[in-house]
Each structure stands twice: as structure tokens, then as C-alpha cells.
Amino acid sequence: MMKLNFANANINFLGQRRIALTLSAILLVVSILLLVFRGLNFGIDFTGGTLIEVGYPDAVVLEEVRDQLEAGGFDRATVQNFGTSRDVLIRLAPREGEESAELSEEVLQVLRSGGPEGVDLRRVEFVGPQVGDELREQGGLAMLYALIGILIYVALRFEWRFSLGAVAALIHDVVITLGIFSLLWLEFDLSVLAAMLAVIGYSLNDTIVAYDRIRENFRRLRKDAVEKVMNKSVNQILSRTIITSLTTLLVLVCLFLLGGAVIQNFALALIIGVLVGTYSSIYVAAALALVLGVDRTVMLPVKKEGEELDDRP
């Protein structure tokens, strides 16, 4: 029988809360510093500009493509391989005095006229700078509203300290994931933004499961100390936390390896987010609630859910 033996796990997670919270604080500060001083490698979705993906029938030397573009007057183009050595990604910043929407046609002509036969236009993305600004603003707003919505829901279902703890854990996960994106200078585009929102959902999922168990145990184990109850709760759900992360990661790794270059950053953002989220739901979420001063008295008895929805035994 295959079974990970967490059944009798009794790890003193909350006893290590100083170490965990210090580590998290350091990671957060480093991430924020990275975001402030290094920033994110925003894709054209947010900066505006033109992106052209072309496919060659055979592997192509990037240097030649660059020379060709330079000869055609596109000296500010960045050229890189995308996925395979036959696919080339060309990025152009908005150029002065030229209509941006026409650029892609011109680039393609330059490549077709001088290079090897059979250049295939695979993708063009042009985003006007104004649209880019708006997308950035909308993305930020979407994050903010999602956080507010969650804050309210958790406050209604649990208690404000849990709510604050959950949102703090969320921000923790998102900021550290962004920090890693900044550190590795991975491109941050719309799909990564979507991944960030999925990370919010995922991280929250984990935190809620933990808080749910803490609440339940507060009501059942009336004699134990607060820290002990919390520790017990985190240990009880440990196997679930790890199994769920494992299955989700299994799928995400498939997506990362097989989904193609377009979706790679999306998958990577989620992989990082799930890893950070798993860590935070084990070490940070409960510890935060404890630090915020959650104890038995704040857990007003709430009517038990689910009983009426299920049938008699």
C-alpha cells in the first residue's frame, strides 16, 4: 500500500514560527526591493510595442536575422529564439513618427526579401502604449478587487483576524512570486497576470482549509492551549496539503514542458506560486493568525454547515 505517513505527524510548525516568519519577512523585503529597484520585465501587453513571431523551415542563425533587420532599418529590434531554433521572436519598441500597426508588415517584408525561403508569420501582437497603460491599471485593479472580495468573504465566514491573516498570506505569496519573476527577469505579460490571480485563488484555498480545521478544533478540544490546537490542526491537514500540491504541480509541470512556449511563463508563474503557497499555508498562515491574537474566545459558535445537505446515516 502506498501511503505517505503523515497520519501521526506531529511537527512543531508553530514552534518554529519565529524562524518561518523571519524567513518570510526577509523574502518579502528582498522581493519588494527587487520590484522597486529592478522592476518587472513587462511584456508588450503592458508597455506597448510590437511583437512578431516568425517560423523558419530550418534552424536559423539569430545574428543573420538581426543583420537583416538592421539593414532594413529596424535597429532597435530585439531578436531571440522562441521554443525551438526555428522560431524567432522579434520585439520592437514603438518607433518615432511611424504608424505602429504597419510595422509587422514591413518587418515581414524585410525578412522575406533577404532571408531563406518560406518564412512563416506565426503571430503578431501590437499593443498601443495607451492600451498598455490601461491593461496595467486594469490588472492592478483586478488584483485589488479580488483581495477586497476575499477579505470580506473570509471576515464574514470566520473572523477579521483570520481574514487579515488570509490576505496577508496571499500578499506574501503573490509578492514573493513576483519577486522571483523579477529576479529571473522572466517576462510578465497578461497570461502571467492571470496566473497571479490563479495563485491568489490557490493560496487562499490552502489557507482556508487550515483555518477551517483550526476553527473546528477550537470547538472540539477545549482544554488544549491555543498554540497546541493550531499545531495539531496544521499537522492533521498536512497530508492533504501535500497531496493537493503534488497533483496540481503534476499537471502544471506537464503544461510547462508540453504546453508550448506561449504558455510556459504562465505555467512557471503557477508552479512558483503553488510552491510558495504550500509553504505559506503550512508555516505562515496559522502563525500569522496566532501573532494577530486569535484565540478560542473569538471563535463564536457558527451553525454547522453541511448537516442539512447530507442524508441520514
Partner: protein, 620 residues
Amino acid sequence: MNAYPSWKYLLIVVVILVGLVYSLPNLYPEDPVVQIAHSVTDEVDEDTRMQIRAILEGRGVDIKAEEFDGSQMMLRFDSTDDQMRAADILRNALTDNHSVGLNLAPATPDWLRAINARPMSLGLDLRGGVHFLMEVDMDAVGDNVAERYTSEFRTVLRDERIRYLAVERDGSAVEVRFEDPASRDEARDLLRREYRGDLDFSTRQSGEVHILTASISDDQLEAQRRLALQQNITTLRNRVDELGVAEPVIQQQGENRIVVQLPGVQDTARAKEILGATATLEFRLVDESNDPYEAERTGRVPANSRLYHERDGNPVLLQRRVMLTGDFINDATSGLAQDTGGAAVFINLDGQGARIFGRVTGENIGRLMGVVFIETTTDLVEQDGEMVRQVSRSEEVINVARIQDQLGRRFQITGLDSTREAHNLALLLRAGALAAPMSIVEERTVGPSLGQDNIERGFNSVVIGFVLVLIFMALYYRAFGLVANVALALNLVLIVAILSMLQATLTLPGIAGIVLTVGMAVDANVLIFERIREELRNGNSPQASIQAGYARALSTIADANITTLIASVVLFMFGTGPIKGFAITLSIGILVSMFTALMVTRAIINLTYGRQRRLKTLSI
């Protein structure tokens, strides 16, 4: 004992059946098709259909199947090569009025079509195509409206014999100059009656000149802008129809933007040329009493005339007053002129246009008339570090000819440089003019080869990730794992069925959303199964453990899913395009997984273990 009332089992069976039937159409492959439509009569007649069959047969292109829905003719082919060849052949062979479009049509069997079961449509990133976001230049709307008032004021004042010095547009306001305050006040009262509510009037004096200013009221401007946007959408739709694109999406986004999605379009250059162009014609009488060369040299243009240039650079003086604008044209085709053999556009006027044009040409037989070709292009240009929109309007006289006779409903225009230009002009005249210029602020084009790649890769990653999860669950939770796997498979079927029913568009981020749901849908079962294991360890009986496991996990699952749902609903509300697709599949996935992971697994477990009174162990 663990048992469901029979209605629950029935409900589950019904949901599964409906889900299976509605996801079925996605299993049938899509045929490459060529669609032929007639832009004027809206019906491809029997003769043409015969002709099309004969042409393709003659060129050795095999038609797989043929359909005719009373207006459009649809030909199915075995391969995209055949489809492309057929389209090329037909584009050359058929007259201008026919549009030939490439598309993919599902090969859904009739019985499925009869219950409205259709496959989900694929997004541009999966099938290839163009996405444009176009911004309407709202400042130009005010200018255009003021321009219209300017010429109307002239007519009204002239008809009422009120003497004025000049009528000029000043931004989105109109200024009328008078010699004396009496005629100014008379004009003000007249115009105020005429344009009640639409315009705000004010008067002032500047030296010897008395000025009446009419500015467009904010309400009126707002209404005009809405109208302009609507007209642009209509015009774009007409133009897209002319291009022969099937299943296009043309929608308003925000206050001043329009989304245009053209699946399957590969010639993006032409699509841009046609969508953004504002070409139209104007007919004006030539001012024969003044010398255009002198006007050009001295820069002094007679008050009632405007200086134009012909294509070869020669100056022409045309009267300010327009005889007819392109708005009255209801059909235009391109072809070769009967007399000269050059490129020509054959114009057909609507009833009102024919009456006006008949009257003005009848009154001016023997005089010269100029045809002005007006083209407006809008460019985004960087200026002092900021992107500004620059509208350039070119007005050229393409043809000057003596009016021989009263012109009626049909006539031809020559003077264009190429047949391609004639073809485009005819198309633009047919589709109507844009009420305000637009520029492309966002473009996403996906070539068909990338679309194919995306679909294969997306599909593979879903299948492999899914299979790995299935294997893991079966190994880790054994019999219960298998039950969870049934639920997981059903989860996938139901997501596909709901997306098909909603006729939602599946995009690459949408596939990612499905993959993510697969990962997260397991979570509910993991929660329940872990709880059952815990209950068993605490020494409870298997039946009681099942009962308690489901009951206790429920609130956790509900809380966790609702919070994720909040995040994905926010995503849906704020996101555009790709993000929306992701949010839709994620939301549907969460809801469906609640049903499959809770109800379906419980039903199977109840049926398997529920009646065994002396159950000792569970395979978990």
C-alpha cells in the same frame, strides 16, 4: 447505512447523459469550407451555383459536400489545400458582387444539430486569425458635426435671404459673421427655431463684424458620438462581410473602442487596409469662371470655391457646394470602363440620391463636374515623447468631365490608377463610410500553423497531465481513487459540454484553466478521503467514517471553492480577451467539480458500500 434518495441518482444520471450528448459534437472533425455569398441580392442563384460546380469540376477540385441555406452556398472539402485552391479559382472566376470566404465548418451529424448540440468554437489563438482593437477618434465626431452644420447654415441663410459675410467652423463650433446686428439677430432667431435644443447660440462683436457663434450642446455631442460609434460598427460589419470572413466578432468595448475578430483571415495587410480606410467620393461642379493656376500661384482662392489637385498635379477649382456625397451610393462595383478600358467603378445611387443627382446634373448640362476621391488615414505618431493621433486627409480629383446629359441612378467613374484601387473603392462605397476615423490600438494575429501547434500542445498537455493525476489517485487511494477518477473524467466531460452549450470560445488560456481545474478538482476528493482516513484511524466504523468524512469536508470545500470563485469572477469582470477565457473555464470548472467531487463520488460509494451492513474495511 449510506444511501441517496432515488431522485439524486436520477439527477446524476440525467446530468451525465446530457453532458455526454452535448460534448459529443466536439469529437467530430471540422471540414475546411468555402462560403460564397452575394452582396447585393443576398442570394447565390441557381445559375451561379451550377457555374461554380462546373468551374471546380473543370479544374479538378473535388467537392466533398455542398450546402445551400437560401442565401449562402457552402462547399466542403477534404483538405485545406483543396479549399485554398477552390477559393482562389472562384475569386477569379466570379463577379465582384460575390464574396468568397474561407472557414471551417463542423461535421456535426444532423441528429445532434437538431437538438442544438454544437461544438465549442475555437479562439483565434487556436485556429489562427486576426484580432484588432480600434479606437474611434471622438474629437473628429464633433468636427464632422460642426462641418455639417456649417454647410446647412449656408443653405438656410441663403434660402431665407439673410445676408452674411462668412460661415466658418471653429473646432466643434460654427461662427457666422454679419455686417450688421439686425441680420445677425434675425439669423439667430431663425437658426434657434430650426435647431431647437441641439445648439447653443451666443453673439459678440469684433470691430465692425458681428459674430454669431453656435456651439453643439453637450447632450447633442454625446448623442452624436454614440451614433458615430454605432455607425462605425455597422460599417465595419458591412466591410467584413465584403471581405468574406465567416463568424466575425465586431463589438463595442468601452466608450470609444471596437473589437474586431476575424478568424481564419491570413491576409492581415488587406484586412487593415479595408477596416481602417475612410474612402468616399464627392461630386462638385468645376468653377469655370476663375483660373486655377492663378489661384494656386497667388494663394487667393475665390470665396465660393476650393482649390483641389488632380492626380497628375494640375490644380482645379471646384465649387464649395457639394452636389452629392458618397452617402447616397447604395451599390458600387468595379470593372473596366466601356470607352477607355481603364479601371472604373460603376455607381448605383439610392432613390433620394438619384433624385438629387438627376436634378443638379439636369440643371447644369454642359458644365464641368469634378469627382473628388477622399481618403482619411489615421496614424499614431510619437511627438515629444507622447503618442498622438494624426489624421491625414487626402482629397484628390480623380476625374473631371463635362455633364453631357442628366445623370440618373447608374453611372461610371473613371480616373483611378489600378483595378485594385477601383476594387477597394467599390468595396468601401458599398459598405458605407465611417462616421469618424479610427485607428488600430491593439492587434493580435495568429498564423494558422501556430494555431495548429497550440491546439496540439494544449491538448497533449491536458491529456498527459490528466492521465498522470488519474494514475496517482488510483495508486494512492485505491478503490476510492478510482471513484475520484470517474468524477474527474466526468468533470472534464461536463466542462466541455457546458462550454459547448454556452457556445463559449475555447482559447489557449481556457485550456490552461481546464488543466488547472483538473489539478484542483482532485482537491475536494483529497479533502474528503483524508477525512475518512482520519475517522477510520479514530476507530469509527467504515459507514460512519464515510458519512462523517463527507459531512465534515463539505464546509471546507465550499469555503475554499467560493473564495476561488470570487477571484475568477473578478478576473472575468476586469479581464479582456485571453483572461476572460481563462476565468470562464476556471469558474465553470469550480462549479462542476463541486457536483462531481461531492455528489457523483458519494453516489458511487453509496452504491458500492452503502448496503453492506457488516463492512469491515474500506479500500482507501
